[in-house]
């Protein structure tokens, strides 16, 4: 019996589902080359490289980027650049912190017994079983109440007043990223044979040296995939950011959402296209890392 035998029904369903997954993305990318400013109708591709481009039936002055008109436009949009900067800053900071403390927690939960262990383990499942919006408004309430109270108590005025911003977004992101890092690293640690560490100690390495020379290199692939997962979660997050951002801390998803409620130009599509390509490269990188980790024993 051929183990890879599949019925035509399964194949047909598979093709359909993949089509369903990709059609919207393809359309989105196509529209980023749309020769229409309103981006309501598809008016065909921008084909000319001249500085005058036919749009919506009439010639307008355009950047000399030709088909990539909207991408050039995008690169000059300060709001987008600021949002991109915020998004990356938050993602980097939150990833580094959540990876460090998440890995520590994974080690603790997998290796040690301590009083608060059941509580620690259980709290990791909160972001999975509770809708994001519930956490979002909870964190919003926490920040607005404590900030209000602190501003009053410390008599803070003007710029000194505590308010929502990049800091609150990053701190909140860490809260929902850490559990994922911990769970991923914990899953890797489950298969980790303790005798490697015992061997290192047996050979004269103390706990600290053992961790950095043996344990850490061995769990590094797990830590990295946890970090990458956390990073993408942060980049992708809308809901928590929506409730915790403030002036000057707009991220890309928030920015795009804002645009969708107003006028939509193909700039949004150009932005989406850039985003999709970036994600594509990131996923490739992850795949490469994983395949390197899972290399077969015989070479």
């Amino acid at each position: 019996m051929n183990p890879h035998r599949r019925s035509p029904w399964v194949i047909a369903a598979t093709v359909l589902v993949y089509f369903f997954l990709y059609a919207p993305i393809v359309v989105l990318i196509l529209y980023s080359f749309n020769a229409s400013r309103a981006n309501v109708k598809f008016e065909g591709f921008i084909t000319s490289f001249s500085d005058r481009v036919e749009m919506d039936g009439s010639f307008v002055k355009a950047s000399p980027c030709g088909p990539f008109h909207w991408f050039c436009d995008l690169s000059k949009n300060d709001d987008v650049l600021e949002a991109a900067g915020n998004t990356l800053t938050i993602a980097f900071v939150a990833t580094i912190i959540s990876t460090i403390i998440g890995t520590m927690a994974a080690l603790a939960l997998q290796r040690y017994d301590f009083k608060i262990k059941p509580f620690s383990q259980l709290s990791l499942y909160i972001p999975i079983v509770i809708p994001e919006i519930v956490m979002g408004i909870g964190i919003l309430t926490l920040f607005s109440q404590t900030f209000g109270w602190l501003n009053e108590a410390l008599n803070l005025t003007g710029d000194a007043r505590l308010s929502m911003g990049i800091g609150t977004v990053a701190v909140s992101h860490i809260a929902f990223m850490v559990p994922f890092v911990t769970l991923v690293v914990q899953a890797r640690l489950q298969g980790f044979d303790k005798s490697y560490e015992e061997a290192a100690m047996d050979l004269g390495a103390n706990e600290w040296v053992t961790f950095w020379r043996v344990t850490f290199p061995m769990i590094l692939p797990g830590v990295l995939s946890g970090a990458l997962l956390a990073f993408t979660l942060s980049l992708d997050d809308f809901v928590i950011t929506f409730f915790t951002n403030g002036p000057g801390s707009t991220t890309l998803p928030i920015y795009v959402y804002g645009l969708l409620r107003r006028i939509i130009t193909p700039q949004v599509n150009a932005l989406s296209t850039v985003w999709i390509l970036t994600v594509f490269i990131a996923v490739l990188l992850l795949q490469w890392l994983q395949s390197r980790e899972q290399k077969p024993a015989h070479e």
Binding site: D193, S195, Y196, E198, A199, A200, M201, D202, L203, G204, A205, N206, E207, V209, R213, V214, P217, M218, A297, H298, E299
Partner: protein, 371 residues
């Protein structure tokens, strides 16, 4: 060397809490003295406490009660990296992210040895285990036997006072295991350091060891040389665990010096044998053990002391020997006979229901404490 004993365990208890929440004595009041330069084995089935004892010597576990001494010094809570003993792990525990060279050099690096010194000593260690030229390989590029040698080299390069080996040959196939047994024994004799070897394989223990501790349920059942353990087991457990034995249950009728008479109810007869304990009393319930190869089958039917009529159940020809299973008044006995003479004639083999006479010699009949 400051002490006569390389390792000494004095009344050591190790308690564990089982997942069900019960307290379990994994090691239960174990006392043993392991001499310098000795090849010492701890033998027993899984859960007998042998690995836990080894881990307490290595420093991975601390005794709940009692004390472990290394070279005469109490170890207390000394961490593994401060003990002059090294371990060869059952799974080898070779660092997968390091080369063979880096694996062996690791322990020397921890001592702060100079690079040139490390190079020299790693080279010598590789030579010792015949792996010269494999320095740059990764552990997973090596065969099981080669990995095992790297594990030994990695431990020995530190020149420990005592080498601990936790079932180091368990993962190898039979042929390689036999080879490695001889190699390890040769290595130990050549280096003259103490080996403490944990195994569940009795043949392995008998082949390699100077002395063996047979363990069961966290206790040492017998600690003696291989010959003593096989020929003079102290109780029914040891007699049963090491090699094969036929057991008959009975009551001591009379005891005098190194001979005793035991009444066996199922035979309705007395058997003469050697008491394996000094404190038997008349009327005590005992087990009588006779090894299959030590029962003789008489040429002709005869009657007398130590002679019993039995009926053949089956006879199995296995080349070097013939195993005869016989029924003796309802008790099944196994008898082994060597095939000393080449023959093909079917009538020269035992057949089912054939009546044979078994000969029990008093010097081969061991009288054991019931456990």
């Amino acid at each position: 060397m400051t002490s006569e004993f390389a390792v000494e365990m004095r009344d050591v208890v190790k308690k564990f809490i089982t997942p069900e929440g019960n307290e379990l004595n994994a090691v239960d009041h174990v006392t043993m003295q392991i001499k310098n330069g000795e090849f010492f084995s701890m033998l027993g089935s899984s859960g007998c406490g042998k690995t836990t004892s080894l881990r307490m010597i290595a420093g991975f576990e601390w005794p709940t009660e009692g004390e472990v001494y290394i070279e005469g010094k109490s170890t207390g809570h000394t961490p593994p990296f401060q003990r002059k003993v090294n371990t060869v792990f059952q799974s080898y525990a070779l660092f997968q992210h390091m080369t063979v060279f880096q694996n062996i050099a690791f322990g020397l690096e921890m001592e702060g040895a100079k690079e040139s010194e490390i190079k020299k000593r790693v080279g010598r260690a590789l030579e010792m285990v015949q792996l010269t030229g494999m320095e740059r390989r990764r552990p997973r590029q090596l065969s099981g036997g080669q990995q095992q040698r790297v594990a030994v080299a990695r431990a020995l390069v530190k020149t420990p006072d005592v080498l601990l080996l936790d079932e180091p040959l368990g993962a190898l196939d039979l042929k390689l295991r036999k080879e490695m047994q001889l190699e390890l024994k040769a290595l130990q004799q050549q280096l003259g350091i103490t080996f403490i070897y944990v195994t569940h394989d009795q043949e392995e223990a008998l082949t390699m060891s100077d002395r063996i501790a047979v363990m069961s349920k966290g206790r040492v059942q017998q600690l003696a040389t291989p010959v003593e353990i096989y020929e003079r087991p102290v109780n029914k457990f040891v007699a049963d665990f090491i090699g094969e034995s036929n057991f008959l249950e009975g009551k001591i009728k009379h005891i005098s010096g190194n001979e005793a008479l035991v009444h066996i109810p199922v035979l309705n007869a007395e058997i003469r044998g050697m008491p394996m304990s000094n404190n038997f009393v008349n009327g005590e319930e005992v087990s009588v053990s006779i090894r299959p190869e030590k029962i003789r089958i008489a040429e002709q039917a005869a009657k007398g002391e130590g002679l019993f009529q039995a009926k053949v159940l089956t006879s199995v020809y296995i080349g070097s020997d013939t195993h005869v299973y016989a029924d003796l008044n309802g008790t099944r006995l196994k008898v082994m006979e060597q095939n000393r003479i080449s023959r093909l004639d079917p009538s020269s083999f035992y057949t089912k229901d054939q009546v044979i006479t078994l000969v029990f010699m008093p010097e081969n009949t061991l009288i054991l404490k019931k456990d």
